[in-house]
């Protein structure tokens, strides 16, 4: 049976006596409702946040009319039932009358309290780029919206005040996937400004997790000679849920920035899926490895720098293998990025026209993620040769992610190098991509580009791979804890 159109529907509206509604605000009043359902709301005078009695073919439903997810259909109204707080969808076509009983607009407010300042505690700044360290719900998309001021954060995670004096600065509010070169430059500049002019003990950067490791790598290149920690942090479970990792991640990141004896760009996220401790990952060796796990970030071809928890830091790397805090250093800022750079993930039977297309579209640098030790198939050779001849800079990384590109082992590798492709040892493909963009932002000279790419800034190429650098799980489950105890720390 076809459902009636809005004008066919005989639905009426009324308002209980004494009920007054605020000034109309069309964007809010029909939030998420369109087509048929919106027509019914308009006709009956009901709006989002009204408490309503819906008289339907089945009987009455009383609740608060909620905004609707915009992508949902236009055949249902969503109400939060007054007596039990549940949400249900009511088929709009069954509604005969809507009585407005009141108006109760949600006020999302993380209890905001002034962040207590203690002159004996170190100052830490949190730079916001997006992500959900603290958040509230957005009905329009059903997603969560970050809350961010120091007072809001203090309201949500009061333990922060035991660690540091926290100031916040919102740079922008972008989902992780939308962050790119302009944002990277802005973050790099803000980091240097905070360190040089605000005299902070460390910088924390709130970031969506999807591309956190790109930002971590590029900041390592753009801001060198750091005096103090720069810690990137986010959450895998949004902070609108009781089991969120956000509060712990933030506490550990702030602790690292305030007290940690480090002077590198690091990612601070869960070690195990348990709440026990976080890991500090070097910005050039870290990668998001799981789409939803809390402990998604892993250091590849190396170990994390240290564990961090409320109790303090447990170094995993030897003291000599990471950079220590030295507040006398002055950071060196190079916020440049050549955007015509790309990352080519090789697969069997890749056709050369892919490479040709990149060259013809003006790409100046291509990082290849090759198979095994750094290989591509023969039909690609002429295209690679042509690219080099056209002045494109070509580099080889490995799609195994762990291990080195070692192109002398097989003839294939030697042939590819002969074409002008430079292997990047154990640099991660994503790291190579952002480094090439950063290098090409400074020079186009073939030899200089090659020199800069192969000279590590901070561990993106490591001379030695520790025997336990190849661990996907870096702690957490009991059997792996045993492994750690036996072989490490």
């Amino acid at each position: 049976m076809a459902e009636p159109t809005a004008h066919e529907l005989e639905v009426t509206g009324s308002r209980a006596s004494g009920v007054t509604l605020p000034e109309p605000e069309p964007a809010e009043d029909f939030k998420g409702y369109r087509g048929f359902s919106r027509a019914v709301l308009e006709k009956t005078g009901a709006r989002v946040w009204c408490e309503v009695r819906l008289n339907t073919d089945q009987g009455d439903f009383v609740g608060i009319l909620l905004p609707r997810t915009e992508t949902a259909d236009d055949r249902h109204l969503v109400i939060k039932l007054t007596y039990n707080g549940y949400n249900v969808g009511i088929k709009t076509a069954t509604i005969r009358h809507i009585e407005i009983l009141g108006y109760r607009r949600a006020h999302y407010k993380i209890p905001e309290q002034e962040f207590p300042t203690d002159p004996t505690k170190p100052n830490v700044v949190l730079l916001g780029t997006g992500g959900t360290i603290a958040s509230r719900l957005d009905y329009r998309t059903g997603a969560v919206i970050p809350a961010f001021s120091p007072g809001e954060l203090y309201g949500a995670v009061p333990e922060l005040a035991d660690i540091a004096n926290l100031d916040t600065k919102k740079l922008f509010g972008e989902f992780s996937e939308n962050i790119g070169p302009p944002h990277w430059k802005a973050v790099a500049e803000a980091v240097v400004e905070q360190i040089c002019e605000r005299n902070v003990a460390g910088v924390v950067i709130g970031h969506g997790t999807d591309t956190m490791h790109y930002t971590a790598a590029v900041l390592t290149f753009m801001v060198q000679n750091l005096p103090c920690p720069v810690v990137i942090v986010g959450s895998q479970r949004s902070s609108d849920r009781p089991s969120s990792d956000a509060a712990y991640n933030l506490l550990r990141a702030v602790k690292t920035a305030a007290e940690g004896d480090f002077a590198e760009v690091m990612v601070c996220m869960y070690g195990p899926t348990s709440d026990n401790y976080g890991l500090l990952h070097r910005g050039t060796r870290v990668r998001k490895m799981h789409s939803s796990y809390r402990s998604t970030f892993r250091t590849l071809s190396d170990t994390p720098i240290a564990r961090v928890s409320q109790d303090g830091f447990v170094p995993i790397k030897p003291q000599a293998d990471y950079i220590h805090r030295d507040m006398s250093r002055t950071p060196k800022l190079t916020p440049v990025f050549e955007e015509r750079v790309t990352l080519l993930w090789y697969y069997p039977n890749m056709h050369p026209d892919i490479v040709d297309a990149m060259v013809d579209n003006g790409y100046k640098g291509i990082v290849i993620a090759g198979t095994g030790l750094g290989h591509v198939n023969k039909p690609l050779y002429p295209a690679l040769k042509r690219a080099v001849e056209k002045g494109v800079h070509l580099f080889m990384t490995v799609q195994t992610l762990w291990g080195y590109a070692q192109m002398f082992v097989y003839d294939t590798g030697r042939d590819i190098m002969e074409l002008g492709v430079t292997p990047l040892a154990n640099m991660l493909p994503e790291v190579a991509y952002v480094k090439l963009g950063w290098v090409l932002g400074q020079t186009q000279d073939r030899e200089e580009v090659k020199r800069m790419m192969t000279a590590p800034v901070n561990g993106e190429i490591s001379e030695r791979e520790p025997f336990d650098g190849y661990l996907v799980f870096q702690g957490g489950l009991p059997e792996l804890e045993d492994y750690f105890k036996r072989y490490r720390v």
Partner: protein, 642 residues
């Protein structure tokens, strides 16, 4: 001190009101939001995960009271994971998969069985639980139907306000101090929740309603059986009180006594409030007074207090003004008011070994004369004041002090909004503050799910006849009470009804097989469930028309259950129970009777009646099931007399 049963008229006088939330797991193959197998439990585990819970804002921007209380308790929560039954969804490391369709269909049938209105669209809601029983910190739950009904035997109709579909929580293994341990295997098992309004007006009505709900659920054959598959939360209030929830009542037959005792407790608390008012005391924000000082150094006799300093524990005290004689105020079933304080301290301060407090209000307070004087002097108690002492790790003792002050302040409101747990003697003890609607917010990981009319109609076909309707009919059929109890919720009830309606068999004979014989055999581990309803129909029809006889079922059914591939005719042939003709039947009976008499005579009975009885036994060994016992007996008598 009052205890159940009281007198029948008092429920009306008290204004007893009760509502039920009946939870029952449903029979799906997989869990509700992931693809783990459903209904498998084991105490074996392969890994542990440690988590904590932190309150968050609800959808309307408020913190929930329970949530804050749970956060105060700062528990370490340990989840034990078994590879077979837990995936990354239960660990809250993977977002939910789309909701289990089989579960929706079952929930729809159950909602329709209660005559609920079905919602147009399912909205998955997160209901916060910070007790740790769910790693996400919330339960995913949705309303499938609202506004149904449940008739009671006295003609009253109770409203079923909602029918929910939700995921089950973890099984608690232990809860000691600040560490609570759960097995995660039960987590995310699909269950339905049936919620009634609060119009149940006596404890007996409450119990009957729970029984009827449970029986209707089981009559659908779509719910799980066995220990732990069903749990009841019972809400009780009386005039002048607020709603109190008794959570996780394990057995329905305890509901009457539990709700009665809870009503008595509330009545006693109202009287306690009135007594305080009579003493000219009505609260203020925090009428009690805490001593800031740690009393661990004092010279107590009581060993717990004397030893506290050495153990690093603090001893703290609270003065409750005007509380003289009130800590032993009787509540219900031997419980007294001091236990209200102790329950809070146990849960919120994690001081979970009773006794966890002493007080100066008489010898029941656990202190001798010396200690009583000592604390009264130290605390500066007036003659009408009472001192309450707690001890434990300093942070916990501090929490305990504040909790006692809070609970004392609530005496003026009489009945705090609490969730209480059922104790063995059918009284209740504090579990947590009753959560409000503020703990609900939408599940941003799940899209709304529209329910089509087709789907509702498909579900409606599977709604069983109400067990109470069947009970009435079975009584009319003259069935015995044990069968009236069992058959209406048996999967065989429709077969019985059909055969009786068709006149194929007398009701009592069919019912006896379906509700007694099959159960008896199942208890002897005979796999009778291998037989289909069609096979049972063939059997009952043969029983009805005299082809087989009752006495033979304990031979026939085990044989068939072992080889359920046989048809009924094949089975009879295989057992040698068929006769080629009437003449052959006669010959077989004749031969069996003669053999039996001969054998009996050889046993030389003194009494001729005994001879016949013994011969009957021997003959039935041969003829059991194939020939009616009365026919065999008649033939023996006839032959013996010749």
């Amino acid at each position: 001190m009052r205890s159940y049963p009281g007198n029948a008229g008092e429920w009306k006088r008290l204004g007893f009101r009760c509502g039920l939330e009946i939870h029952h797991q449903i029979r799906t193959e997989k869990k509700l939001f992931c693809h783990c197998p459903a209904g498998r439990y084991s105490d074996e585990w392969h890994a542990e995960v440690l988590r904590h819970m932190r309150p968050t804002l609800s959808e309307l921007g408020e913190y929930d009271g329970t949530a804050l209380m749970e956060f105060k308790t700062k528990k370490e929560i340990i989840y034990r994971l078994n590879r077979e039954t837990v995936c990354t969804y239960e660990m809250d490391d993977t977002p939910p998969f789309l909701i289990n369709e089989q579960a929706i269909d079952i929930a729809l049938t159950i909602a329709l069985a209660f005559n609920c209105k079905i919602v147009g669209e399912l909205h998955i809601i997160r209901k916060q639980y910070l007790d740790g029983s769910i790693p996400a910190g919330f339960q995913r739950t949705a309303i499938v139907g609202v506004d149904g009904e449940l008739p009671l035997s006295n003609g009253k109709v109770v409203r079923v306000v909602q029918l929910g579909l939700e995921e089950d929580a973890c099984r608690e293994v232990s809860d000691v101090g600040h560490r609570i341990v759960f097995m995660a295997d039960r987590l995310s098992m699909p269950l339905v929740e049936v919620v009634t309004d609060n119009t149940l007006a006596t404890p007996e009505e409450a119990q009957e309603a729970a029984e009827r709900i449970s029986r209707l659920l089981r009559a659908t054959q779509m719910v799980r059986r066995g220990a732990g598959s069903g749990r009841q939360d019972v809400n009780v209030s009386i005039d002048g009180s607020t709603r109190v929830e008794i959570k996780g009542v394990p057995k329905i037959p305890r509901i009457a006594a539990l709700t009665a005792h809870e009503a008595y407790r509330q009545e006693a608390l109202l009287a306690l409030r009135d007594e305080l008012r009579r003493r000219g005391f009505d609260g203020g924000d925090r009428p009690g007074r805490a001593l800031e000082k740690n009393l661990a150094g004092l010279n107590f006799n009581r060993p717990e207090l004397a030893g506290a300093g050495k153990a690093g524990d603090a001893v703290r005290a609270v003065v409750l003004p005007e509380a003289k004689d009130l800590l032993a105020w009787p509540l219900a079933g031997w419980r007294v008011f001091a236990q209200e304080l102790a329950g809070r301290v146990r849960v919120v301060a994690c001081l979970d070994q009773y006794p966890n407090l002493f007080h100066s209000d008489g010898p029941e307070g656990g202190l001798d004369e010396h200690d009583r004087r000592l604390i009264e002097r130290e605390a500066g108690c007036g003659s009408r004041d009472v001192a309450v002492i707690v001890w434990g790790p300093p942070a916990d003792a501090e929490t305990a002090v504040n909790e006692i002050l809070d609970r004392w302040a609530e005496v003026i409101d009489a009945i705090p909004n609490e969730t209480r747990q059922a104790m063995r003697n059918n009284t209740t003890d504090f579990e947590r503050i009753l959560p409000g609607p503020d703990r609900m917010y939408p599940d941003t990981d799940s899209p709304p799910y529209a329910i089509t009319d087709d789907r509702i109609e498909r579900a409606r076909v599977l709604v069983p006849e109400a067990p109470w309707e069947r009970e009435r009919r079975y009584r009319e059929q003259g069935l015995p009470e044990d069968i009236v109890a069992r058959l209406p919720i048996s999967p065989h009830a429709p077969l019985h009804d059909w055969l009786v309606r068709a006149g194929a068999i007398e009701p009592v004979r069919s019912a006896e097989v379906l509700a007694r014989v099959l159960i008896a055999l199942r208890r002897r581990d005979v796999p009778v469930d291998t037989l289909s309803q069609d096979q049972l129909e063939d059997l009952l029809v043969a029983l009805g028309d005299g082809r087989i006889h009752r006495e033979g079922l304990f031979d026939l059914l085990p044989a068939w259950a072992e080889r359920p591939g046989l048809s009924f005719a094949e089975l009879l042939a295989d057992l040698g129970w068929t006769f080629d003709s009437e003449q052959q039947r006669e010959r077989v009976i004749e031969q069996a009777v003669q053999d039996a008499l001969e054998l009996a005579r050889s046993e030389q009975p003194r009494d001729p009646d005994n001879l016949q009885r013994m011969a009957m036994g021997h003959a039935m060994d041969e003829l059991r099931g194939r020939v009616a016992a009365k026919d065999v007996l008649a033939r023996i008598v006839q032959t013996a007399e010749v």
